[in-house]
């Protein structure tokens, strides 16, 4: 049917050629036969522009749409192959008419189908055309001509180009973004992924992974959650979550994804996601956590209390030493400025928390060095402290909080008090000693009036006192031993080869400083007396000194029972007047040491019994003052 119609068209051409008449624009031939008329009508009614060439390429017929496209009318048989100004090759060169698709169809007899060509018409307009050319054969199969139907597709090409440009632009944006952008169908198939995403899953190209199920890329421990979230997103939710992917190369990557639902052109449900690689962030956060943990361990290990607050003073951290100082564990974020229960100024006035050193530091930004006060614990204890708070600032210099180091200065305070006490004590001792020396001098002088031996007596007594002090100084005034005191007084009389004359026996006992001083003076007076008037004043005289611990029947105290026995000296007579020595012995033992003295002046020699409740023998705490 088509062949006959086409043959008809060509038949008409013949007539046109014969008549050589072109009286009308659209009808080159003479008034057609009825079949020609039909052909003409069909030709004009075609939805496309069309023209017909004979076997030589001459355009023998065309319709109105063709003429309008070309922008001119033709004289039949004078124009070959193309009715337009020119056709362009793909590279932009102009095509010779002999190179045109029409020429090629007439040569080869092969049709041209849906060829898109850029052309320029006679009005100088460049247009895109969609060309279809069919050869026309005679009964013998020889090429008689060809018919070219073409359409102006310029607008379509333009919108296609724009679409392509816009798609390319979008693609460029998607490809250039550092985030992974991907589309995953509801059943888990990867539809689209940009370069950044491919790099995250360690894929070389989209072709490698497109259409693959991505569930297996999700780290096993995150897979169930991922699939659940994915299905929720496909059904319409917008979700964000974090998960790990084990890439194709086996490397784990931490990701944070923001997913929205998407309907694919074919109606399938999918999820579109923008996903960040947060591996570095996770690593940084871990490093920060690790560093904070390390710091916290370090601070906990410190023996000094350290705590921090935010800019408003609320506690953000404290170490174990702070707990020890405060005596309790305050709640972070609730306790403010200091974790202590209460505070006091050094003078005992209440120190409200909002006036403490930490509060002023947060207020004026000035660090404090060693602000002192007392921390009161709920158990009633009171700890002196020195605070060293400093503001913490951000890069812009704004105060973001403060850190305080709080030192328990109890020991320091105790040491201070001890030092004060020691100085006072030293003063007291020195002044008392001077006064004692004054007393010794006074009494030595009084005795000397009668005996003119002031210097000798004074020096000897002073020496006895001084030697007792030496003994105490050796032991840091913590006391000394009984034997040491006795030996020291007896020594001058044993050095002369008379050791056998003096015997002493008994266990050694500790002496308090005042006991040692008193006994030293007592022994000095006794031995001086023995040397001057008693057993040691003659070569055959002997001195026996024995002691033991007994119990006082009246007081129940354990006492040092000490017997001083002089024998084979001059006959003893009871003295008329109580001398300084006797007075000193009596006063020292009874008044100062709370003991008893019994002195017996038997003719065979002086007997002196001392009973002294030494502190070391009593079950009570030691005193250490003179």
């Amino acid at each position: 049917m088509l062949a006959r119609f086409m043959a008809g068209l060509l038949g008409t051409l013949k007539i046109m050629n014969c008549t050589q008449e072109a009286s009308t624009l659209n009808r080159i031939s003479a008034p057609p036969l009825s079949s020609d008329l039909l052909n003409d009508m069909v030709f004009e009614l075609l939805p496309a522009a069309a023209f017909v060439c004979d076997a030589t390429g001459a355009i023998v017929r065309y319709n109105r749409k063709a003429a309008e496209f070309w922008g001119r009318e033709l004289i039949p048989g004078e124009t070959y192959y193309i009715g337009i100004e020119r056709i362009f090759h793909a590279d932009g060169r102009a095509m010779l008419p002999e190179e045109s698709p029409m020429a090629s169809v007439l040569r080869s007899g092969l049709p041209v189908r849906d060829r898109e060509l850029l052309v320029q018409n006679l009005l100088g307009q460049q247009r895109w055309t969609l060309v279809n050319i069919s050869p026309i054969f005679d009964d013998e199969g020889q090429i008689k001509g060809a018919i070219n139907c073409f359409q102006d597709i310029t607008e379509r090409k333009e919108s296609e180009r724009k679409l392509q440009e816009s798609q390319a632009f979008l693609q460029a944006v998607v490809d250039a973004t550092p985030e992974c952008i991907k589309v995953v169908t509801e059943d888990g198939l990867l539809m689209q992924m940009n370069d950044a995403g491919l790099s995250m899953i360690q894929a070389e190209s989209l072709e490698r992974v497109r259409g693959a199920c991505i569930f297996n890329l999700i780290a096993p421990e995150h897979r169930d959650v991922w699939i659940t979230n994915h299905l929720r997103v496909c059904k319409g939710e917008q979700l964000s979550w974090t998960y790990d992917v084990i890439g194709l190369a086996g490397t784990r990557v931490n990701l944070e994804t923001h997913a929205v639902p998407l309907r694919l052109p074919d109606g399938r449900r999918a999820h579109l996601a923008v996903t960040h690689n947060i591996t570095q962030r996770v690593k940084d956060e871990q490093a920060v956590r690790e560093s904070e943990r390390h710091l916290s361990e370090l601070l906990d290990g410190l023996a000094v209390a350290v705590y921090t607050t935010d800019a408003k003073g609320y506690l953000t951290f404290y170490n174990e030493a702070a707990v020890a100082l405060w005596g309790h564990r305050p709640r972070l974020g609730e306790a403010r400025w200091c974790g202590s229960w209460k505070m006091q100024w050094p003078d005992g006035r209440e120190l409200p928390h909002d006036e403490c050193f930490m509060a002023t530091v947060l207020d004026d930004g000035q660090a404090v060095q060693g602000g002192e006060g007392y921390i009161l614990r709920q158990d009633g204890s009171r700890i002196p402290f020195a605070a060293y708070p400093s503001p913490l600032r951000n890069e812009d210099g704004e105060i973001t909080g403060a850190v305080n180091m709080c030192v328990d200065i109890s020991r320091h305070k105790t040491a201070e008090a001890q030092q004060r006490a020691l100085i006072n004590e030293l003063n007291h001792r020195v002044k008392n000693t001077l006064m004692t020396v004054q007393s010794i001098a006074t009494y030595s002088l009084r005795s000397a009036n009668a005996e003119s031996r002031f210097r000798e007596m004074f020096d000897a007594r002073l020496l006895a006192l001084s030697k007792a002090h030496d003994l105490l100084t050796q032991a840091q005034w913590q006391g000394t031993r009984l034997r040491a005191v006795i030996e020291q007084e007896v020594a001058p009389y044993t050095e002369q080869g008379k050791a056998s004359r003096i015997e002493f026996s008994g266990n050694d006992h500790a002496l308090e400083p005042r006991e040692a001083l008193a006994l030293a003076m007592v022994f000095h007076e006794l031995i001086t007396n023995a040397a001057k008037y008693g057993a040691l004043s003659v070569p055959e005289g002997r001195l026996q000194l024995t002691w033991y611990v007994g119990k006082d029947e009246h007081t129940g105290h354990h006492c040092l029972e000490l017997n001083w026995l002089e024998r084979e000296g001059p006959t003893v007579e009871v003295p008329q007047v109580k001398g300084f020595g006797s007075r000193l012995i009596d006063r020292s033992i009874t008044r100062e040491l709370k003991g008893r003295v019994v002195t017996t002046f038997v003719p065979a020699g002086l007997e002196c019994h001392l009973s002294i409740p030494l502190l070391c023998l009593q079950a009570r705490p030691k005193g250490s003052f003179v």
Binding site: R429, K431, M435, R587, S588, R591, S624
Partner: protein, 118 residues
Amino acid sequence: MTTTRKRVLLVEDETLIAMLLEDILDEFGYDVAGSAADFDEGMRLASSGSFDLAILDVNVGGREIFPIAEQLAARDIPFMFSTGYGAYGLPDEWKNRPVLAKPFKPDDLEKALHANFP
């Protein structure tokens, strides 16, 4: 004369100092009616003894004398401190009491006695 002698309480732990003070006081016409060498004895005498005045060593056997001072003050018995610390060693509440700074000459003691206990 004996009837007008003032009765003195002496609290002093150093034997030699106590002896000296007792003798000096006796020479100056005072009657040492009580002489304590330790705190407990001093307190006992201060609480119950009959005295016109007292001389108190600030530190007796390592203990501060102040409770005894309080006791005497409560009984309106005048007293003065004898101390190696000087007036600086006294707590604020006792700073206005007469102080005899050790060591002192007998004259100093006599002057202080006359000035404070005429």
